[in-house]
């Protein structure tokens, strides 16, 4: 049994909140540059140039890439041979979010009661925390701040079990087209297929944690990802919805076994600020 102090979790989460919001992954910047080279429209080129320049400014000045520094979504993979001492894990994570958002001059975008009061909690807590217990004696922490311009454009559908890949593809393309300029294209499209309603949503969210260019390990799903990405880019929505070849930087599918009677599908859209960073304690 290995011991991890709760305070270490707090420190790691605080640091990840700041780093994800200041430093865009090289995978995303590389994807911007590839898109810039492929775009022919002047507006599309200018937008991609702005995004590249924006990422440089944010990194250099240590300011947020986007003012919507998101709701903090935190994934924990907790080794079953780890004993956490000092505080409970949830409190430690939330303390880290509070510290990171306050120290980092990140926007506090969370309201306590979603429906009636909608009062800002002033420290961006609570985080949305997903914990998986895994073998081993390590704790893997991933912070993925999620902006809501894109979150609002996400959709789910319970398909008939016989619907097939073509119908799922059409649905994803339809969701992207309906979203149009709203979710800040070029987007990353996360697709969760199977499980139950809640499982499909989690799979979709989890798929957004991949680096751009990383595919599903199953060749069938990898080729479906590529096929849907092509279809999405043929819509012509383009950067910021102003037309062009780059509507999405990636389409990521995660699948899970499901019931004989169903085929849940969730499309979770991420904006071009595809943020996530991981540490292992």
């Amino acid at each position: 049994m290995r011991t991890i102090e709760a305070e270490e979790i707090t420190k790691a989460v605080a640091r990840l909140c700041k780093e994800t919001n200041y430093n865009l992954g090289q995978d995303v910047i590389r994807a911007y540059k590839e898109s810039l080279a492929a775009e022919e429209s002047e507006v599309a080129q200018e937008i991609l140039e702005q995004l590249i320049q924006n990422a440089e400014i944010a990194q250099e000045k240590e300011v947020p890439i986007c003012q919507d520094t998101g709701m903090a979504v935190v994934f924990l993979e907790l080794g079953q041979d780890v004993n956490i001492v000092g505080d409970d894990v949830t409190a430690a994570v939330n303390e880290g979010v509070k510290k990171g958002y306050q120290e980092g001059y990140l926007r506090k975008s969370v309201v306590s009661d979603p429906l009636i009061e909608r009062k800002n909690t002033e420290d961006n807590t609570p985080a949305v925390i997903h914990t998986t217990i895994v073998p081993g004696d390590e704790l893997k922490i991933t912070v993925a701040p999620k902006g809501f311009g894109s979150e609002n454009m996400s959709q789910m559908k319970m398909f008939n079990p016989t619907a097939g890949a073509e119908k799922v593809k059409d649905f994803v393309v339809q969701v992207v087209e309906e979203a149009g300029p709203n979710p800040c294209p070029p987007i990353v499209v996360g697709v969760g297929v199977g499980g139950t309603l809640d499982k499909a949503a989690l799979l979709a969210k989890k798929s957004l944690l991949r680096d751009i260019g990383e595919h599903n390990s199953d060749p069938k799903y990898k080729s479906l990802e590529e096929e849907i990405l092509n279809a999405v880019n043929e819509t012509g929505v383009g950067p910021q919805g102003l037309g062009g070849k780059t509507t999405a930087l990636a389409v990521n599918i995660e699948e899970y076994p499901t019931h004989i009677a169903g085929l849940p599908v969730v499309v979770n859209i991420n904006c071009h600020v595809a943020r996530h960073k991981t540490v292992v304690l």
Binding site: E42, V43, E46, I47, Q50, L51, Q53, N54, I57, A58, K61, E62, V63, P64, I65, C66, Q67, D68, T69, Y105, L106, R107, K108, S109, N120, E122, G149, N152, G180, P181, N182, P183, C184, G236, Q240, G241, L242, G243, C271, H272, V273
Partner: protein, 176 residues
């Protein structure tokens, strides 16, 4: 593609000359308001109270900025998605609002009112928030400070890079 330098406050004829697709560099005073501030502006109008700023010829930017670091004017400040402001917008247009800055679609009623009143909708690049913040030279909270990031701010901007998406004839660059 034309690139036009525009200075606020604007006249109706300046607005009527802008065409969907024009690249614009906007300078001058711009006010911020997003969801919660829109609710309060409309409430003030409905109760016959004064608005916190002169809406005549005004430019409104849909933004909730990140907090300013010490020594900075403002934190990162890119546009938020505009459709959420649609239910409130026609009434503001009827009170003189001429320029709206945001990102994403607007509804038919907003576009119809823009045509009637002579107003334009300009897009800032969503997510280019650090870059945009460098074009904001002054910032002051002028109303609803309790709303935090959603408070109404008076900004002075210099060469804010924008694209005219919906012009006053109803032409919409998103509908290609």
């Amino acid at each position: 593609m034309a690139e036009i330098k525009l200075e606020t406050p604007v006249t109706e004829s300046e607005i009527r000359n802008l065409k969907a697709g024009d690249k614009i560099k906007l300078s001058g005073v711009v006010y911020t308001a997003r969801d919660a501030a829109h609710e309060r502006l409309i409430e003030a109008l409905n109760q016959g109270r004064d608005l916190p700023f002169d809406m005549q010829g005004a430019a409104l930017y849909y933004v909730g900025p990140a907090p300013a670091k010490p020594g900075e004017v403002i934190g990162s400040a890119g546009p938020t998605t505009s459709y959420r402001m649609d239910p409130f917008t026609p009434q503001l247009l009827k009170n003189g609002l001429k320029i709206m800055i945001g990102k994403g679609n607007r509804n038919q009623k907003v576009m119809d009112t823009m045509k009637e009143e002579g107003a334009v909708y300009l897009a800032a690049t969503g997510g280019a928030a650090a870059l945009i913040s460098e074009r904001i030279k002054e910032m002051k909270v002028i109303a609803y400070p309790d709303l935090g990031t959603e408070a109404v701010r008076k900004l002075r901007v210099k060469n804010l890079p924008l694209v005219c998406v919906i012009d006053s004839t109803g032409k919409n660059l998103y509908n290609r």
